[in-house]
Structures are given as C-alpha cells and as structure tokens.
C-alpha cells in the first residue's frame, strides 16, 4: 500500500485545529458548514498552531520533552532516505508522541465545549457586552432570540409569548401561546416551535365596530386543548416574540387576596 506520508502527517498535525474550531462554534445547523473554505482553513490552522504551542510548552515543562522541528521537516520531505530516518526517530519515541496527539485531540474536543459553556454562563456573548464582538456566536441568531441570552444576568424574563399568523383555509388566523421548545432543520433554519396554552382567533375578528368589553375581547380567542402545540415555522406568515417578566411575592396562604378565576 502506497501512503502519502507527508499528507498524512499534515492531516494529523492540523486535525486538532479543525476539531477545536467546529467545537467552539455554536451553529444551528447540523449539515455541512458552508463557511468560505479559506476562512475555515485559516481558522483551523491558527487554532492548530496555538494548540501545538500550548502542548509543546506543557510537554517541555511537565515532561522535559523537546520539540524537534527537523524531524517533522524530514517526515514531510520528499526524499525517501530522509523520511525513513525521521520515521525511525518517531518509531523510537512512539509512545510519548502518541500520547501527545491523543491528549491533544481529546483536549481539542473538550476545551471548546468548556469555553462555549463559560461564554454562555457568564453572558460574554450577549448583545452589548464589552467583548461580545469576539465571543458572540454569529451563526446562532435564533438561540439569542428564543432563549433570552441577550439579557443581562438577573434581568432575564421568565418566559416567551409567541404570536403567529398562519393561513388556514385562505383565512389568516392568529395563534398565541407560550414557547416551550424549538427545533432547527439541518440547514439551521427554524423548523418548528412547540407552544403551550395556545389560543387562536381569525384575524377578521380584529375589527371592532365599537368599544369592546373584556368578555368580547376574550371571547374572540378560542383556547386550543392539548399540552403541546406544534407550529411549523414555514407555515407562519409572521412571528411576534414577546418577553414576559414575572415578579413573585409569596404571601401567607389565607391572607392573600385571591384574584377570582374564570
């Protein structure tokens, strides 16, 4: 079997950069990353260089191992004799080299997850944060809209109310409910929303002829039975998002002025 050893070596050397880059991004698609090829490669190579620098320093400090660039250069050389000599050196030091690359690959998978988690935890990516241009996940707009990630810590709303207009039998119908969950398709487009406590009304009922009463306003909406209402995003003509803040005040059970329920 004829193996293009230099290509294989370059692949192994650059692979941690590609893994690290894809792990660091919060993207809403599961299909192929359609970012420009040049940008992908440039970012991956940059991350690979930084990761190798970090690992080489750790190897030097913790294990007194020195990086020998000549061996690497000889490995990717086109001269078979030079390559064979370098391969022999690698064979002698196979265990530490294998440990180096295995630990680097594991780290390039785990570290970005931790970084991403810390960015979200401390809201470094929220709109208006000092370093948001660096930390913001630009490929995840729905994430920011529907999880409230743009709100500062402590000022987050409690839930999201969704109003959507859907055409049913050539008639526009307004659906209102509370957002519970949302899903994306493989291209990162919003696929469906799961709503709770949904009610609906035809838009045609929006034209009152005179002053309305509370009962009339409420009566225009028809509650929809069921726990989860699935709204396909592709069928929604418009989508309105409202953030609702709830302020609680626990009171003694019997002293509480209870608002009459319907």
């Amino acid at each position: 079997m004829n193996v293009a050893l230099p290509t294989l070596i370059l692949f192994v050397v650059l692979l941690p950069g590609f893994i690290f880059r894809s792990g660091l991004k919060r993207a809403e698609r599961t299909s192929v990353d359609f970012s420009p090829f040049g940008r992908v490669v440039a970012e991956a190579v940059l991350w690979a260089i930084l990761l190798h620098m970090a690992w080489i320093i750790i190897s030097h400090l913790a294990f007194a191992r020195e990086f020998e660039p000549v061996v690497l250069m000889n490995l990717i050389s086109s001269l078979p004799t030079t390559q064979a000599g370098a391969a022999q050196r690698v064979g002698i030091e196979f265990r530490p080299i294998a440990a180096y690359f295995i630990s680097l690959l594991i780290a390039s998978h785990v570290v970005p997850m931790l970084i991403r988690s810390a960015i979200s935890r401390y809201r470094l990516d929220r709109d208006g944060a000092p370093l948001s241009t660096i930390f913001r996940f630009h490929d995840a707009p729905w994430y920011y809209l529907l999880t409230g990630a743009d709100f500062p810590e402590g000022q987050q709303p409690d839930l999201i109310s969704i109003s959507a207009i859907v055409e049913v039998a050539k008639e526009a119908v307004l659906y209102v409910g509370f957002l519970d969950d949302f899903y994306f398709d493989s291209d990162g487009q919003l696929d469906r929303l799961i709503l709770q406590q949904v009610s609906r009304r035809p838009i045609a009922n929006d034209k009152p002829t005179g002053p309305s009463t509370a009962d009339q306003d409420t009566g225009r909406f028809y509650p929809i039975d069921g726990d989860n209402f699935v709204l396909r995003y592709s069928e929604a003509i418009t989508l309105n998002v409202q953030y609702v803040k709830l302020t609680a005040a626990r009171a003694a059970d019997d002293d509480l002025p209870v608002i009459p329920t319907r």
Partner: protein
Amino acid sequence: MKALKSKLASQLLADPAASGQLRDFLVNRNVSDLRQQAPADQFVIRSKDGKVTVRASVVPKAKAA
C-alpha cells in the same frame, strides 16, 4: 432547544387558572384602551406548596432594555 422558561413560569403554566389569566392579559393588553377595565396583570399560582402571587409585565428586547 429548550426555550427560555424560569421555574416560576413553569409553576404558572402548570396552574390552568393562572396560565389562563396570563394568556388573557397578554392577548388583551393592547385593547385595554377600548374598554373601561384593564386586564389584570396579577395572578395567583396555586400549587401543593401554597400560593404565590405574581405580577406579569412585558419587557422590551434586551438591546433596548
């Protein structure tokens, strides 16, 4: 992906009466000027742990907040 929903909001949605009131508040909030009485923005959540009064308000988008 799970949407934004606090523990308090989950408690409220688990109470049919309170969640119905919240829904009425949201859908009628903008038509309150057409009638005498504004929709109540305060609800009572009843659960096995007791009662909690909550006040609801619609907050602006984070950037404008």
